[in-house]
């Protein structure tokens, strides 16, 4: 029995991203495809997402021409592939405030957004520092902050302080402070709704970019390898990896890094006419597959 259908939806990709940016220590070891994705959670009368991608109008040309990001498609096109409209989404969990995860707030006019309060407050604190500290502002789009002001005024921004269970039935938020960002969080879906679920999935945002972060290079001798970038500490990144993997009973493939292209090898997937991947992690009872 699955309470929710879970899909990972690609909305753009960098075909050749340096491995060293993703897996600590993989210097001069070539590139890999880096898909940009968000997650859809549907079931129990709920329609939710994890992250919302970036706004092409604001960033698309520079990202395409200078940084090689290809194939951006709007949420309307991407979600339309599984019969959903952006207006249908009622809940969105923002794993962290980088532009490629939080940058498309305005396309979801009816959603309530959950974000760690620390992600906001520490970001604002970092803005107060002198110019030589500007690295701490990496990935932040000031326009996203202004859009967040509107969300807050409309009562659609929920600032979470730490962990929170059952935000939706069987859906928990877990703080991962001082890791990839000041106030990153990951989302656990207990897909059988039980307290000690055997069917959990963890949506980890950028707390892991690929499976190497969660099991190292040798599956027979696993180890945690930090991500390529942490504003906080790599120690915290590693301990968060342990917490995430433990929470799914050690099955690393139930921790879902949205930037991991090999999800398509592990779960049923299809490529849309636009060349974007849809990966189906689970199907709620009675729901129709969107990949077959």
């Amino acid at each position: 029995m699955s309470a929710y259908s879970l899909w990972v939806m690609e909305y753009a990709a960098v075909p050749n991203y340096p491995q060293s940016g993703l897996i600590y220590g993989m210097h001069n070891q070539g590139t890999r495809k880096l898909p940009y994705c968000y997650v859809v959670i549907q079931g129990q009368g709920q329609l939710a997402m994890v992250d919302v991608g970036y706004n092409h109008k604001a960033h698309g040309e520079v990202l395409a021409n200078t940084y090689g990001v290809r194939g951006w498609h709007s949420p309307r096109e991407v979600l339309g592939e599984i019969g959903i409209q952006p207006e249908d989404i009622s809940t969105i969990f923002i794993t962290h405030a980088h532009f490629d995860h939080m940058g498309n707030i305005e396309d979801f006019p009816n959603a309530k957004f959950y974000l760690q309060e620390r992600e906001l407050s520490k970001m604002v604190w970092s803005m107060s520092l002198e110019r030589r500290f500007r690295w701490l502002m990496l990935g932040i789009d000031p326009a996203d902050i202004m859009r967040a002001v509107d969300l807050a005024r409309q009562g659609r921004l929920v600032c979470v302080d730490g962990d929170r269970e059952n935000v939706l039935p069987g859906v928990d938020l877990h703080a991962a402070f001082d890791t990839h960002t000041w106030g990153s969080m990951y989302v656990t879906v207990r897909n059988d709704l039980s307290a000690n679920s055997q069917r959990s999935f963890v949506f980890c945002g950028d707390l892991a970019y690929g499976y190497e972060n969660l099991r190292g290079h040798d599956p027979n001798d696993p180890e945690y390898i930090p991500i390529g970038l942490a504003t906080g500490s790599q120690f915290n990144v590693i301990m968060t990896a342990e917490a995430m993997v433990k929470s799914v009973g050690g099955d690393v493939h139930r921790v879902i890094p949205p930037h991991e292209e090999r999800l398509k090898d592990l779960f049923p997937s299809r490529i849309t006419k636009a060349g974007l991947r849809i990966t189906e992690l689970a199907l709620a009872d009675g729901q129709k597959s969107q990949v077959y």
């Binding site: 520079v62 090689g68 490629d100 906001l120 604190w125 807050a152 950028d206």
Partner: protein
């Protein structure tokens, strides 16, 4: 492609653009904390002073700029941005009432976006230092 004089303008005014963007970010950050009910979003937040100091430096640099014909639209966007951000700063110094600050702030930031779109060398986000956008095409 830009001519040498415009390239010089770009190099000389990147800092001014960055500083105006930073001031806009600082004000927006305070607004979001205030609107979200954070205990840190208070009207006498020291960042308002910091934003004011940075704004004055940026504004002085902007007044000294000598745009070429090619760079003139960019410079005009920056002037309009600075004018709007000045209003937002003034309002924030009186009281952190979201609407009174946000409306001029948003107008100012829109002008910064237009400036960034009108000449190369001015980025809205530091993509190069961002984790998932940092792989510059060779």
């Amino acid at each position: 492609m830009v001519d040498d004089a415009t390239a010089t303008y770009i190099l000389e005014n990147q800092r001014c653009f960055e500083d105006l963007k930073q001031v806009a970010s600082q004000l927006a950050g305070l607004l979001v904390l205030a609107a979200a009910g954070s205990k840190e979003g208070v009207p006498d937040h020291p960042m308002i002073d910091a934003a004011g100091t940075l704004f004055r430096e940026a504004n002085d640099a902007l007044r000294r700029a000598r745009p070429t014909e090619r760079a003139r639209p960019h410079h005009e966007h920056l002037l309009r941005a600075a004018a709007s951000i000045a209003v937002a700063l003034k309002e924030a110094g009186v009281a952190l009432i979201v609407d009174r600050v946000l409306i001029p702030l948003r107008a100012g930031y829109s002008e910064l976006e237009r400036a960034a779109d009108s000449l190369p060398g001015f980025e809205k986000v530091a993509y190069e230092r961002a984790c998932c956008g940092g792989a510059r095409v060779q």
